[in-house]
Amino acid sequence: MIGSGPIVIGQAAEFDYAGTQACKALREEGVETVLVNSNPATIMTDQGIADHVYIEPLTVEVLERIIERERPDGLLPTLGGQTGLNLAVDLADAGVLERYDVRLLGTPLETIRRSEDRDFFRTFLHEIGEPEPENISVNSMAEAREAAARMGLPLVIRPAYTLGGSGGGIATTEEELEAIAQSGLAASPISQILLERSLVGWKEIEYEVVRDGADNCITVCNMENLDPMGVHTGDSIVVAPSQTLTDKEYQMLRTASLKIIRGLGIEGGCNVQFALQPHPSVAEVIGLEWREDSPYYVIEVNPRVSRSSALASKATGYPIARVAAKIAVGRRLDEIDNAVTGRTKAAFEPALDYCVIKIPRWPFDKFPHGDRRTTTQMKATGEIMVIDRSFEAAIQKGARSLELGGRTLLWEDPAWRADPLSAGRDGGVSAAGDGVAGDAPARGGVELPLGPNDMRLWGIMAALRRGWSVGQLVERTLFEPWFIIALGRIVKMERRLLAEELTPDLLYQSKRLGFSDVQIGTLADMLPEQVRNLRRQWGFRPVYKTVDTCAAEFDAVTPYYYSTYDEENEAPPLEGEKALVIGSGPIRIGQGIEFDYCSVHAAIALSEAGVRSIMVNSNPETVSTDFDSSDRLYFEPLDEESVRDIIENEMGDNGDGRPPAALVQFGGQTAIDLSQSLSQAGMPILGSSAEAIDIASDRHKFEDFLSSLGIPQPPGAAVTSVGEALQVAQTIGYPAVVRPSYVLGGRAMEIVQNATELIRYLTAATEMSPDKPVLIDRYMEGKECEVDAICDGEGILIPGVMEHVERAGVHSGDSMAIYPGLNLTESEVDTIVDYTSRIGLALGVRGLMNVQFVIHGGAAYRSPMSPPSMSDQAGASQGGGGATTVYVLEVNPRGSRTIPFISKVTGVPVARLATRVMLGHTLAEEGYPTGLWPRQGLVGVKAPVFSMAKLVGVDWHLGPEMKSTGEVMGIDRDFPAALTKALLAARLNLREGIGVLLSIADQHKAEAVALIQGLNRAGCRLYATEGTAAMIEAMGLPVIMTTKKLSEGHPNVVDVINDGSVGAVINTITGVSAVLRDGFHIRRAAVERQIPCFTSLDTARAAVESMLAGHSAYRIGTTRDYLSRG
């Protein structure tokens, strides 16, 4: 089985879910599984899921070596996303499958090629008589221009063989055609793009289909996108089942789906996307003549398990990946049990008796200046799903589930209030996104964001409040009117809540429409707690209904629940001892799959300890929301109201039972944020107390706490005004690190060089968290390290110390991390262990804790390779020479994103052990010592992976703000091999003899000498911008000067990147914004060409050292191989 590798936009946690389910399913079938995935933050790569787990780079060479070693009978690539399919094609093309007699399971090779190659696909659809929009595949710009001239604009451009539609878009002008076609050709591994008649505004409908080897076919469910055609389905709000299709239309598309999966010969799951004629009022806007016979087109087929199938699985309870895996090894649908009912078979079609909504989670809270328009290229990092018995309730719960700073559907951008009725006719969000950015100045008559963008749902709500008609909104949004009308019902209720007395009837009706206590409180002028009290007084509590695949026709054994306001509750309190695991919600930058990994382990550990686990989460892509990951699953928003309601439900109807304790350490900031409110409500928290959490999170308290222990931290303070900030900065000196308190993923953290930058930052940041102070710390350059630790109240276990390749200033989530700390002196390690132990014990931590350190003094970059020629900077590079000081940067009293990595390289099941400790077991009882766990005979390197190609207009450089979406791990016996693997897996490896473009900031030039010499030794052709070229010339090395001024002649920096002259870019930056602007084009071009781009000298040096050490000297092994000594 091939996994999907690191999490990137368009290929996320859904494939861990699919792969994990498949491994379990294959085990049930008695099939021995070999799994390869480069992503350590996955459940599928845990011991015990597959029989043989390889955390190795996903390349043909590596896979061939594994195949040679393991000699599998079959290859199952359909559960590893497009990565899996592409590798299967590559392995077949390289003759590997034939050489080792490996049978391709699931989807025939020909079909994989067909569905991605548009020419084949068009022929296929023609053969089976299914309609496809007029289109043509082209392989060059010349062909693209010629085709566009013939077909006319607008055209949809789709690159062949890419994830999440990367490099695609809709071209409405000649200029857009040029730009999008160019990037599309570059994005496609076979340099092919499809130009297609634009169906913008048509309904977008999807079907999930499953077929077995006996040609039995079923559809699992269909889905209707609120955002009509023109927006990638991954960026669309989606409802399941379809709401506005007649049975004739539903069945017409269902029949077409079955025809397609049969025609393609897929044995397993498949996703088919259709464009269906829109409502007449939309048709009129787009100039389409409405017809009685509901014309449609087939838009896309994914011959594999996909994000949509994960969604469909969670939406229906039908485990598509499990069924697909069983089918791949020869089972028939009627031989596979329906695990939900326990008595029926997988050969049926789920019947839903509820409404499911998915809303994407975009990263624009972190990239407010990125292009926020949603197009055919996916930009969301994650998604949430909600279930309720009405559309209105579901979409309201959906807004809450996004965790956008407590934002409900009531939220409006303050800028929209400027001139409520003058919203213009065209536009929506402009290209720069400044119509929706929180810090944009309020212009007169700011337009509501009604075009395709991340804020559209709120824009529509705002427009409805301002009296826009359904017709006007349909004209602007091209939404099916039904959805606008439904949103209008929410606005009507808002008006009633504003105007009327809050009677029991009104309160109940508003709860039925999904209004939260917070919303009702806002509108009825009460505190949320008062609304809650009224609900208690009047007896209004949500009931919980089961997701059972069959609309209650059969008894379900799967405890999978959602809340609604209705008559009958199907979830009586679980019997016996039990605890809640608070999940981590949608995947976003800074809070990724790692936290789901922890949540799953917590649930397993609870069950193992005889405590029944209750999972609460809102993310459909993950393993934690699989029905067999816990004893009971509540699919709910992770906010105070939902979690308290669930806890009360578990207390029993009369509410006098004991509330189950909640585990808040595993679900990232989402869960930890709930600790204070749960505690205030008298609900118990397992492990570290809410007070300990508060001390670690509150700057003042934490400062006092650390100094009472005599542990140094960089000087700094928490401030609440600009004046105070300037004063503090003056005292501690620049550069300074500024950030809001209570953060995750370094959200809005910046390094400021002077007072001007500090003021600019503060004016923007106060908007973000009005009631929380801003933290200012002295920026200390130095080596960064971190540890995760488990504390039982008496002792503390540190599984390992991780050192970062990049110096302090780069967010730890974006740093490469090495285990064990190869370049740390014994005394530095001792200090780290000592500080960690003292902090943990003094804070009273029970469970997990993550501590980040900076080692100041000595060399910031220490080469683990330490070849003499590379360590000539700053004297003693091994850190032993100069006196160094270890400072504590931060303490997080919860599981961190490094838990999966450190668990895998040390063999310590960190999350599970922590859970047992939280239940009251001691480390000794569990058989673990305290102190630092013995160093393993291996080296692990974790490398971040970015999705920047998908985010147009977003600058990419390493800094204190986290930007990566995923990670990979290289593991081997020695550092060079582990590093090489990490670079390979992260696609950051350099090849000898390539062209490298250098643009080095003045302050780094001296340090860059060794690196440049190394590149030269490796036969790399050096390209450089003006200043850097002068420096290289002065070193006596050949260099090609390219200008960074794009307007001044050719070849400029972008030319040499785009024409393929250079295969990597090294562009270091300082914090100065002018320099950032200059380098923007260089970095964007590199990102779009998908070549390695290094913005930290430290990462670049590691890559050069790896290249010089020779790439091929790595081993191949299972994680168990590496962990076993000798």
């Binding site: 009405s390 609309a551 026709e553």
Partner: protein, 369 residues
């Protein structure tokens, strides 16, 4: 505010909601249907005569009522039970709301009730009589005086009074091409759905519909190429007059039986039928074709089934339900007859089983020689 209404069940439970459709009480057997689309087809399906239909999908009426998706001339259900009905439908073909449709034909509905709770009750206790009424006490009293669904011959109330031709053959894309004269199918109307007639004419057949009590002699005198015994409501035990005529045509002309028609053929050949606990109503039931092991997703709507252990020699089970192993189809070793318990005409539901009409056409052609 809409008027409060209650669904009162035979077991004494009362479920509060509010009226929509026509004002007035409605009594009937309460059943549930799990299909997610196709409420217009369900409402107009005569097999629901005498029943209060609970739709398990909570949002009903979203795409309105159109002029096309009728399965008979009028609404056939006695009442409709939904979680939420839509008064603001949105579809290009919509002509009116479901409320207006019900109201225009005097059929009451209740909205806002916990349909899932009701469904779970029916699933565990079996289908039962119920009433939609303004007051629980009045409703219960009304229920006590009402005749049981099982005791009524509902076919008599839904069958056509007079025979009629269903248009002419329309060319079609079926097995008919090149045939000298079109196949002429008689459909006995026990409560047929129009889509059966559409499927036959689409295949080039000439179709004539006759009343359920048409005698065997009358049927045969019309010299049909075959007879299709239609679906319909109620207990086949009450339909001896139809069963007797069916017995007398078997072997003399090809026969296809659908749903109630299947039960009638089974009874005509001596098999027994029984009432299911809560029936099969929906569009997702898996059926295995025993001849090749293949599984088909089917549309179903029946409260009675044929007892597998009661089949006479010569009559074989051809299809079974994968969920509960009940009989879903029959073939006969000598006679030109086959039957299915489910709905090959779909509407609503999956269209995977339309091929069975082709099978019927082949049977008629073979018989004609």
């Amino acid at each position: 505010m809409p008027n409060e209404a209650y669904l009162v069940l035979e077991d004494g439970s009362a479920h509060r909601g509010y009226w929509f459709g026509a004002a007035g009480d409605a009594v009937g057997e309460v059943v549930f249907n799990t299909t997610m689309t196709g409420y217009q087809e369900v409402l107009t399906d005569p097999s629901y005569a005498g029943q209060l239909v609970t739709l398990t999908y909570p949002l009903v009426g979203n795409y309105g009522i159109n002029g096309v998706d009728f399965e008979s001339r009028r609404i056939q259900v006695s009442g409709l039970i939904v979680r939420e009905h839509c008064d603001t439908p949105s579809h290009g073909s919509s002509e009116r709301t479901i409320h207006e449709f019900l109201e225009s034909q005097g059929i009451p509905g209740i909205s806002g009730v916990d349909t899932r709770a009701i469904t779970r009750r029916l699933r565990s206790q079996g289908v039962m009589m119920g009433v939609i009424a303004a007051d629980p006490g009045v409703g219960l009293a009304r229920l006590e005086g009402a005749p049981s669904y099982d005791d009524l011959d509902h076919v008599r109330s839904v069958t056509t009074a007079e025979g009629y031709d269903w248009g002419r053959a329309v060319g079609g894309d079926g097995a008919q091409n090149g045939a000298e004269r079109p196949l002429r199918v008689l459909v006995t109307d026990c409560g047929l759905k129009y889509n059966i007639l559409r499927e036959l004419t689409r295949r080039g057949c000439e179709v004539r519909v006759v009343p359920a009590d048409t005698t065997a002699e009358e049927l045969l005198s019309l010299e049909p190429s075959g007879v299709l015994l239609s679906p319909g409501p109620g207990d086949p035990k009450l339909l001896d007059y139809v069963v007797e005529n069916a017995r007398r045509i078997l072997g003399r002309t090809p026969v296809m039986g659908i749903c109630l028609g299947h039960q009638i053929v089974a009874r005509a050949l001596g098999a027994e039928t029984f009432k299911l606990k809560f029936g099969h109503r929906g569009g997702n039931h898996p059926v295995r074709d025993l001849s090749d092991g293949r599984v088909y997703i089917t549309a179903q709507n029946h409260g009675y089934a044929v007892r597998a252990d009661s089949l006479p020699p010569g009559l074989d089970v051809s299809h079974i339900n994968l969920n509960d192993d009940t009989v879903e189809g029959l073939t006969h070793r000598e006679l030109p007859v086959f039957t299915i318990q489910y709905h090959s005409e779909a509407s609503p539901g999956p269209r995977d089983n339309e091929y069975l009409f082709d099978r019927f056409l082949r049977m008629m052609e073979d018989f004609r020689g």
